[in-house]
């Protein structure tokens, strides 16, 4: 299949476009989506699909989320656009108490086939209410799938899977990576949930990460390689389900694990990865395991302050060396 080099935001635009052309029950609702969406991820959808399938909504997150659910219950497949992740707080009842529970509470009568798109992460000095990475919260929530891609191809393929899924899928667009370019196939094939992508192979150390911090991890891995430390770099791509087997196989080989997350370290998904690896392999086969993430403070506004909470390639290199010494 011949590919095309596109930005991540264009990749997810193409994925949603492909699925809306393929299936007339797929539609999108959210603020400003008829104008193409905040990032242009729905650019030109309105002329092609019309206002019934490209629904620009009031700033009413509760009903954006809940209406998506209601429409799914009568047989449509809504893409619920939250604009910026942080705004989902205004729709938590609809997401946590309704969407995530309805299939279970009703004994399987309902399949809430929705995709909830929540562009997350640090982005252009947007401060504490527009920069959060709370993806770990949702791994803790039974009933949903948690998707955290980092490349144009993965974002596109995983969005196709998300739209076709009967399970509710929480799709965390890595908004800081929207300009990132990469190859995307003309026909975007679905990528299964729960399969990690091996970014780079090495024997000394396993680096596990996901979402917007991946480019920093790759840079760090290149620096480490230049200093003679060869890292396996694994992009989990989805946090629930997640590819425990791939991570454990890698740590079995390297014996050393560093999980890198943009989110606050405390009680983040990195803790789950480290615990699982140690439980599955046993402490004797893990020489060192660490997490690197943000300190437990809100994301500040001022550029130097924001930089202070960011995970950078230099911090990753330093943490990796500490793991090697451990």
């Amino acid at each position: 299949m011949s590919g095309q080099s596109v930005t991540l935001v264009e990749a997810v635009r193409l994925a949603a476009l492909q699925e809306m052309r393929r299936d007339p029950t797929v539609w999108v609702l959210g603020e400003d989506v008829a104008r193409g969406g905040l990032y242009g991820q729905y650019k030109d959808f309105l002329p092609e699909f019309g206002p019934e399938r490209v629904v620009s909504t009031p700033i009413s997150e509760s009903v954006i989320m809940g209406a998506g659910l209601g429409a799914a219950l009568v047989g449509t497949r809504p893409i619920i656009e939250m604009r910026i992740f942080d705004f989902v707080m205004c729709a938590m009842d609809e997401l946590v108490n309704q969407i995530a529970k309805i299939r279970y509470m009703f004994g399987g009568q309902a399949k809430p086939s929705v995709v909830v798109r929540m562009p997350h992460g640090i982005w252009r000095n947007s401060a504490a209410q527009h920069s959060q990475m709370l993806e770990a919260w949702f791994v803790h929530l039974p009933g949903v799938i948690v998707v955290t891609p980092s490349t144009p191809a993965d974002a596109a393929g995983l969005l196709v899977s998300a739209i076709r899924s009967d399970d509710p899928v929480l799709f965390f667009d890595p908004k800081n990576l929207f300009p990132l370019t990469g190859e995307v196939a003309q026909v975007i094939e679905p990528i299964p949930f729960g399969k990690a992508r091996t970014v780079r192979e090495g024997r000394d150390l396993t680096l596990v990460s996901w979402s917007a911090i991946l480019p920093a991890v790759e840079q760090a891995a290149a620096t480490l390689a230049a200093e003679g430390i060869a890292a396996d770099v694994i992009d989990l791509r989805t946090l629930w389900p997640w590819d425990e087997a791939a991570v454990c196989a890698s740590v079995e080989k390297t014996g050393r694990l560093l999980v890198v997350q943009e989110a606050v370290t405390a009680a983040g998904f990195g803790a789950e990865v480290v615990s699982t690896v140690i439980e599955r392999l046993g402490p004797a086969r893990v020489k060192a395991a660490r997490r690197l993430g943000a300190p437990r403070i809100p994301v500040p506004f001022s550029p130097p302050l924001e930089d202070a909470v960011k995970v950078t390639p230099a911090k990753i290199v330093a943490a990796a060396k500490a793991v090697m010494a451990g």
């Binding site: 009903v63 809940g66 659910l69 399987g108 799938i145």
Partner: protein, 331 residues
């Protein structure tokens, strides 16, 4: 009460109200007996609203309900055996024992679920209406909520949305005057639900919810308007919750006189008077009540005898991908 209704219609309304009353009375007794676990919110005294609305709906019409939803489910046609088993947490319940009283649902008759969160059904009904409209269905969505719900955000968001997109949804504000343990008028500013709906562009009608004929007439007109594509409508039905908030709430804070006065406006007894005036023998009406009691007593007996769900069922219906496997927890 006017009686422009034909006698058969009145008997249908009477029969449904009696079945709801009998179901909830039987469930309440079973709860007192200790065989129904968890909280139980009954709607004794409010049966006129569920009945008068739902008898104007087709099976393919969808309803969303609230925590006090037994009446809505029965009036919409849900099977009472599956409902009673669900209340008992037994095998064969509509929700496989995973919902209970607060989460009764029967999608096969368009009952999209009771809800444990006040106003939780509003966004869902609005979305169901949007989906139905998108698919060119003739079905409509009907949303039951209480007077307490008008003080939550989804009420504002949902009515605005429904009016904005001219959705086929009928909102039913079942106004029993109490928000859990607190009189709603003591916690509600302004003139209330009708004014709020009007301000959001949703035309409404206010009726005595304990006059099932008035509810029926108003619902028939509003359902027809909604089905004709005229946009959302609201029915405000004033009623009275004779029992407490839950099965364990004696509602002792209420003036007993108000409860006694409300009992004189009981929707079932009032319709019985009309039916008597229309020539139906008291014995025939008693037979309807008795048949309802027997049906629900049989449902209780069935539920009591039903087995508990297998433990593995707890692990089912979570999600297709990423579900955790049952590995014999108690084994």
């Amino acid at each position: 009460m006017q009686s422009t209704h034909n006698v058969q219609r009145l008997l249908d309304l009477f029969g449904t109200m009696c079945r709801i009353r009998a179901f909830e009375t039987a469930a309440l007794n079973a709860h007192k007996e200790g065989v129904v676990p968890g909280p139980l919110h009954v709607s004794i005294g409010q049966e006129g609203v569920a009945t008068g609305v739902c008898l104007n709906l087709a099976t393919e019409d969808r309803i969303t309900s609230n925590h006090r939803g037994h009446g809505h489910a029965i009036a919409k046609g849900a099977g009472v055996q599956g409902m009673m088993r669900e209340l008992f947490g037994r095998d064969g319940g509509h929700c496989r024992g995973k919902g209970g009283s607060m989460h009764i649902a029967d999608f096969s008759v368009g009952m999209l679920g009771a809800n444990g969160v006040v106003s939780g059904g509003i966004p869902i009904a609005v979305g169901a209406a949007q989906g139905l409209k998108m698919m060119r269905s003739s079905a409509i969505a009907v949303c039951f909520f209480g007077d307490g719900a008008i003080n939550r955000g989804p009420f504002l968001e949902g009515l605005n949305w429904a009016a904005l997109y001219q959705l086929p949804v009928l909102f039913i504000c079942e106004d029993n005057g109490v928000s859990a343990f607190t009189a709603t008028d003591t916690v509600t500013a302004g003139p209330g639900v009708m004014a709020r709906a009007e301000a959001l562009g949703v035309p409404g009608v206010s009726v005595d919810g304990n006059d099932v004929m008035a509810v029926d007439e108003a619902a028939a007109r509003l359902v027809a308007e909604v089905r004709a594509g005229k946009g959302p409508r609201l029915l405000h039905a004033r009623t009275f919750r004779i029992t407490g908030h839950t099965s364990t709430d004696a509602a002792a804070w209420r003036d007993p006189a108000s409860v006694e006065e409300a009992k004189t406006r009981d929707p079932i007894d009032r319709l019985a008077v009309v039916l008597a005036e229309r020539g139906i023998a008291a014995a025939d009406l008693d037979a309807v009540r008795k048949a309802a009691r027997e049906e629900m007593d049989a449902a209780v007996a069935d539920a009591k005898a039903a087995p508990w769900p297998q433990e593995a069922i707890a692990y089912e219906d979570v999600q297709d991908v990423g579900a955790v496997a049952y590995s014999g927890v108690s084994a």
